[in-house]
C-alpha cells in the first residue's frame, strides 16, 4: 500500500448561528494516496468547494481532521501555515490567478524564489516544467498575451514546480473551451504519471473528471459514492460511468453540467 498523502477524517463544517445551522460538510472521510489523481464531483452547493477550502487551509473545519503527510493542518498557524502552503501545496484555480504584471516565466519562478531556491536552479526547474507542459514558447509572455489554455498550463506549472505534496485544482477547466480543457487535462495526467504529482481536483464537469483515476461524489455535504477507473478499459467507459452516477446523484440531468 502506498503512502497516504491526504487523510480527511470525519470532516464537518457548519455555517450559521445556533438553531439555524447549515451543515456544509457532514462527516466526510476519505484519503488520497501518493501519486493518485483524485476527482471530487458534486452539484453546486454540495460542499465540494468548502471541502477544498478546508484542505487548502483557506478555511477551517468545525470538527474532524485533515492530515497532510500525517500533519494536522487545523493546528497550523501564522508562519507555519504560510510555510505549509508554500512547501506542501500547489494551487490551480478556475480563473488562473496568475500575476498579470509578470511574465509566465516570472510567475512560475516566483513559487520557487519564495522557497529560497537559488536562481540557477530556478532557471533549470522552470525550463524543465515548461517543456513538460509545452509552454516553453510563452514563457516570456504576459498573461494577457496568452490563451486561456496556456494560462491554465502556466498556473499548473507554477503549482507543481515546487514539487508539492499535494496539488489542489479547483474547477481548472471551468473557464476553458473544450479543446483547451482536453489539453489541460492531458497535461495534468502527464504531471500525475511522469512527475508522480498527487492531484486533488474538484469539478462538476464529467469530461474533466474522466481523466482522474478515482472519483468521489458528494451530495448535500455527505460522501455519496466512489468510482474507480479500470485501467484496462478506455477512458470513455469511465466517462459513461461518471455520467450515469451523476444522473443518479442529482436525479435531474439538467443539474449535471
Amino acid at each position: 500500500m502506498s503512502k497516504k498523502i491526504l487523510e480527511v477524517i470525519n470532516a464537518e463544517k457548519y455555517y450559521g448561528e445556533k438553531g439555524n445551522v447549515t451543515k456544509a460538510l457532514d462527516d466526510i472521510s476519505f484519503s488520497v494516496n501518493e501519486g493518485e489523481f483524485l476527482g471530487i464531483m458534486g452539484a453546486s452547493g454540495s460542499g465540494k468547494t468548502t471541502l477544498l477550502n478546508c484542505i487548502s487551509t483557506i478555511d477551517k473545519l468545525s470538527a474532524g481532521k485533515v492530515l497532510i503527510n500525517g500533519e494536522n493542518i487545523n493546528g497550523l498557524k501564522g508562519g507555519k501555515l504560510d510555510a505549509f502552503r508554500r512547501d506542501e501545496l500547489g494551487f490551480i484555480f478556475q480563473d488562473f490567478n496568475l500575476l498579470d504584471n509578470m511574465t509566465a516565466y516570472e510567475n512560475i519562478a516566483l513559487a520557487l524564489s519564495i522557497q529560497k531556491v537559488n536562481h540557477k536552479e530556478i532557471e533549470e526547474r522552470v525550463e524543465k516544467i515548461a517543456k513538460t507542459l509545452e509552454i516553453t514558447e510563452v514563457l516570456e509572455k504576459f498573461p494577457y498575451q496568452m490563451s486561456g489554455g496556456q494560462k491554465q498550463r502556466v498556473a499548473a506549472a507554477r503549482a507543481v514546480v515546487t514539487n508539492p505534496g499535494l496539488v489542489l485544482a479547483d474547477e481548472p477547466t471551468g473557464a476553458l473551451d473544450s479543446k483547451s480543457s482536453k489539453a489541460l487535462m492531458e497535461s495534468l495526467v502527464k504531471l500525475n504519471s511522469e512527475l508522480n504529482s498527487t492531484i486533488l481536483m474538484v469539478t462538476h464537469d464529467a469530461f474533466s473528471a474522466s481523466y482522474a483515476s478515482r472519483i468521489i461524489f458528494i451530495k448535500d455535504g455527505k460522501l455519496f459514492t466512489e468510482l474507480n477507473k479500470d485501467p484496462e478499459k478506455p477512458r470513455k467507459a469511465f466517462f459513461e460511468k461518471i455520467v450515469e452516477t451523476s444522473a443518479v446523484l442529482g436525479g435531474d440531468a439538467n443539474e449535471l453540467i
Binding site: 504560510d82 510555510a83 508554500r86 500575476l99 498579470d100 516566483l110 524564489s113 519564495i114 536562481h119 494577457y144
Partner: protein, 674 residues
C-alpha cells in the same frame, strides 16, 4: 431609503477610503483660510506701524496667489474625487443592476460629495482658525515682534472667501461626477475589477537610450547652471531650463524601462524572495504615471527651491537690518547747502534731537567722475545689462577726512589713501560687479593734472545712506589735497548727515523720525516723491526689512506648502488606486504561501519607492538649482543657504511623510493585510 441616507451610510462605510481625500481637503481649506486671514493677525499689527504698504502688498499678492492656489486645489479635488469613484464602480454597477436609475446614482453621489465637502470645509476652517493663531506666534518669534497686543482673531472676510472658493470647486466636482456617471455602461461597472492589466513596459533599448540621454543632459545643464551660471547668456540659460524640464519628463518616461532592465540583470537579486514581484509592481507604477511623476518632481523642485531661497533671504535680511546695517539712528542726504540750516529755519533744533551728529558736504565732478567713467573699459558690458541707466550722471564725491568722520560715527575702521589714489564705495552689487572689474584693471581718474589710481582692486562694501537691501548709491572718496588743488573741477552738490538720537526709546524715536522729516519739508504721506531729500532712519530700515521678509516668507510658505500637498496627494491617490487593482495579486501571493510580513514589506517598499523617486530627483536638482540661486543672490552680497534648505526639508518631510504613512496604512487595508 432616500439618497441622503444611502450617501450618509456610504461615507460611514468608506470613511477610511476617504482619508487621503479628507486630509487633502482639510489641509487645503485650512491653509487657504490661514493665508487669507493674515491681514487681521496680531503679528501683522506689530509689523505694520510704519510699513502699511508692505502689508498691503502682502495682502494683494496673497489674493493673487490664492487664485492660482484655488485652481490647483480645484484640479486636485476633481482628481481625488475621480479616484473615489473608480474605487466604487462595482457598487454603482450593483445599484444600477437593482434598477436604480443613473439619475438616482448621481443624486447619491451629489449628496455624498456635498456632505464630504461640508464636513471637510468645517473641519478645515476650524483647523485654519487655530492654525492661524499658532502661525501668528511663529511669525512673531521669527522676527522678534512684540506680542503684547496679541489677541484671538477671527477673519470674516477670509471665511467668506474660503467658503465661496470651495462652493465653486465643489460645484465643479458635482458637474464632473454627474457627467462621469452618465457615461458609465453597466457592463463596464460590473466588470471593473475583472479587467486585465495590459501595462506593457516601454521598449527596453529605447528606454535605456532615452534615460541615459536625459541623465547626460541633466548633468550637463546642472553643472553649467550651478557652477557657471553667472557666465551664461540668456539663450544658454533658456536652453538649460527648457532642456532640463524636457529631460525630467524623458527621465520619468524612460525610468520604468531602464530600472527594470538594470534590476533584471542582477539575477541573484531579482529571483530572491518576491523581489521580482516588487520590481514589477514599482516599475508598473512608474510606467503608468510617468507624466504625473515628472510634474510632481517639478513641483517638489519648485517648492524646495522657493522654500530654501525664501528662508535664506529671511536670514540675510535679518542680518542686514541688524547692527551692521544700521550703525546710527538716522542718515540723510539733502540737496542743498545745509540740512541743519533748514531744520533750524523750520524750528527744529538738531541739538534737541541728536545726541551726536555730523553734516558733511557731498560734491561732484561731472567732467571726470560719472556713473559711466568709473567703469572704464567695462562700460560697454555694463551698458548691455542696464539699458535704462544715465551713464553721464555724476557720482557723489567726498573728501577722505570727511569720510573718516563718518567712519568714526558708524564705528568703522579709518580709511587711508595715498595722494594719488581714489576709493569707490558701493554695496550695490549689480553695479559693483562691473566697477570691480574696472578697478582691478587699474582704471584711472584724471582731475586737472592729477592722475589717480585705484586704492583697492574692488569696491569697498560700505555705505553712507542706510538701506535694508544693500542697494545704495556709489560714492568716490578722494584725498583732501586733490579737492583743494582743483577747486574748478568740483561743484557743491548736497550734504550728508548722520546722527544718533538723544532718546533710546522706540516710541520716541518714531516721533523724532517724523519731526526730522517734517522739518526738512518731506511729505510723510508720500516720502518717495522728494528724491532731493532722502531721510533713512534705523526704524525705516528695520520695518521695511521685516515687511519685505514677511512678504517673501509668507508667499513662499503659501505656494510651497500647496505644491507639496498637491504632489503628495497625487502620489497617494495614485498608489491607493493601484493598491485597489493589486488586491487580487496580494491574495494570490498569500495563497502561494508568501508570509504576511513579506507582503507587507513588498507593499511598503513599493510605496516608499513611489514617494522617494520624484523626491530624490527633485532634491538633486534643487542642490544644483540653489547653486545658481546663490550666484544670483550674491549680487546682493548673500551667501549662506544652509538654514533655508534645512527648513525646506523639515516642512517637506512632515507633509510628505504624513501622506506616505497615511497611504501605507490605507493600502495595507485595501489589499487586506493587517
Amino acid at each position: 431609503m432616500n439618497s441622503f441616507k444611502i450617501a450618509l451610510k456610504n461615507i460611514k462605510k468608506s470613511r477610511k477610503d476617504y482619508s487621503v481625500y479628507f486630509l487633502t481637503l482639510i489641509l487645503g481649506v485650512a491653509i487657504f483660510y490661514m493665508f487669507n486671514s493674515l491681514d487681521g493677525q496680531g503679528a501683522m499689527n506689530s509689523i505694520s506701524r510704519s510699513t502699511n504698504s508692505a502689508i498691503q502688498a502682502l495682502v494683494s499678492i496673497i489674493e493673487a496667489v490664492s487664485v492660482i492656489v484655488a485652481v490647483i486645489l480645484g484640479l486636485l479635488i476633481v482628481y481625488a474625487n475621480n479616484f473615489l469613484i473608480k474605487r466604487r464602480k462595482k457598487e454603482f454597477g450593483l445599484y444600477m443592476l437593482l434598477g436604480m436609475g443613473k439619475r438616482k446614482v448621481s443624486k447619491i453621489l451629489v449628496a455624498e460629495t456635498g456632505m464630504v465637502g461640508l464636513m471637510s470645509l468645517a473641519v478645515g476652517i476650524g483647523l485654519g482658525i487655530f492654525g492661524s493663531q499658532f502661525f501668528s506666534i511663529i511669525v512673531a518669534k521669527m522676527f522678534d515682534l512684540d506680542l503684547s497686543d496679541y489677541r484671538f482673531v477671527f477673519s470674516h472676510t477670509a471665511l467668506i472667501k474660503t467658503v465661496i472658493n470651495y462652493v465653486v470647486i465643489f460645484a465643479a466636482v458635482l458637474v464632473f461626477n454627474t457627467i462621469t456617471v452618465s457615461k458609465y455602461k453597466l457592463l463596464d461597472l460590473l466588470n471593473a475589477e475583472k479587467r486585465q492589466e495590459k501595462n506593457l513596459l516601454r521598449n527596453s533599448t529605447v528606454s535605456v537610450i532615452v534615460f541615459v540621454a536625459a541623465v547626460a543632459f541633466l548633468t550637463y545643464a546642472n553643472i553649467r547652471v550651478c557652477f557657471f551660471g553667472e557666465d551664461l547668456t540668456r539663450n544658454a540659460m533658456f536652453t538649460c531650463i527648457i532642456g532640463g524640464m524636457v529631460s525630467i519628463f524623458a527621465l520619468f518616461w524612460s525610468a520604468s524601462g531602464f530600472i527594470f532592465d538594470v534590476l533584471r540583470r542582477f539575477k541573484g537579486f531579482y529571483s530572491k524572495n518576491i523581489n521580482s514581484f516588487i520590481t514589477r509592481q514599482f516599475v508598473g507604477n512608474v510606467n503608468s504615471s510617468s507624466v504625473s511623476m515628472a510634474l510632481i518632481c517639478l513641483m517638489l523642485f519648485a517648492s524646495l527651491v522657493i522654500f530654501s531661497s525664501g528662508f535664506s533671504l529671511r536670514s540675510f535680511i535679518n542680518a542686514k537690518i541688524g547692527n551692521g546695517g544700521t550703525p546710527v539712528d538716522v542718515t540723510l542726504r539733502y540737496e542743498g547747502d545745509s540740512a541743519v540750516g533748514v531744520l533750524n529755519d523750520n524750528g527744529v533744533d538738531p541739538y534737541d534731537i541728536f545726541d551726536e551728529y555730523v553734516e558733511l558736504p557731498l560734491i561732484k565732478c561731472p567732467a571726470s567722475i560719472t556713473l559711466g567713467s568709473l567703469l572704464g573699459d567695462y562700460l560697454a558690458e555694463g551698458k548691455e545689462n542696464f539699458r535704462m541707466a544715465d551713464w553721464d550722471y555724476p557720482q557723489s564725491v567726498m573728501s577722505l577726512s570727511n569720510y573718516n568722520e563718518i567712519q568714526k560715527l558708524f564705528g568703522r575702521k579709518e580709511v587711508k589713501l595715498e595722494e594719488n589714489e581714489y576709493l569707490v564705495i558701493c554695496d550695490f552689487q549689480m553695479y559693483a560687479q562691473y566697477a570691480d572689474k574696472a578697478l582691478k584693471a587699474g582704471t584711472t581718474v584724471t582731475i586737472g593734472d592729477t592722475t589717480l589710481y585705484p586704492a583697492k582692486d574692488k569696491c569697498s562694501d560700505e555705505f553712507l545712506l542706510m538701506s535694508g537691501l544693500g542697494a545704495n548709491g556709489t560714492y568716490v572718496i578722494l584725498p583732501d589735497s586733490v579737492i583743494e588743488n582743483n577747486p574748478d573741477c568740483f561743484e557743491d552738490f548736497a550734504t550728508f548727515m548722520a546722527g544718533n538720537y538723544v532718546t533710546k526709546d522706540k516710541e520716541e524715536s518714531y516721533a523724532y523720525d517724523d519731526a526730522l522729516k517734517i522739518g526738512l519739508g518731506i511729505d510723510l504721506e508720500n516720502e518717495e516723491a522728494s528724491l532731493d531729500k532722502m531721510v533713512i532712519t534705523k526704524n525705516d530700515v528695520r520695518d521695511s526689512g521685516i515687511g519685505n521678509t514677511v512678504l517673501v516668507v509668507f508667499i513662499v510658505l503659501y505656494i510651497g506648502t500647496i505644491f507639496v500637498i498637491s504632489s503628495a496627494a497625487i502620489i497617494a491617490l495614485k498608489i491607493l488606486s493601484d493598491s485597489i487593482d493589486s488586491t487580487g495579486k496580494f491574495k494570490i501571493l498569500g495563497r502561494m504561501g508568501v508570509t504576511d510580513k513579506m507582503r507587507k514589506n513588498a507593499l511598503f517598499t513599493q510605496i516608499l519607492l513611489n514617494f522617494a523617486l520624484p523626491f530624490v530627483v527633485a532634491f538633486i536638482e534643487t542642490v544644483f538649482g540653489l547653486g545658481f540661486v546663490r550666484d544670483m543672490l550674491k549680487a546682493f552680497g548673500f551667501i549662506n543657504m544652509g538654514s533655508g534648505i534645512t527648513f525646506a526639508l523639515v516642512v517637506m518631510v512632515i507633509i510628505y511623510g504624513g501622506y506616505f504613512v497615511t497611504t501605507y496604512i490605507n493600502s495595507k487595508r485595501i489589499v487586506d493585510l493587517r
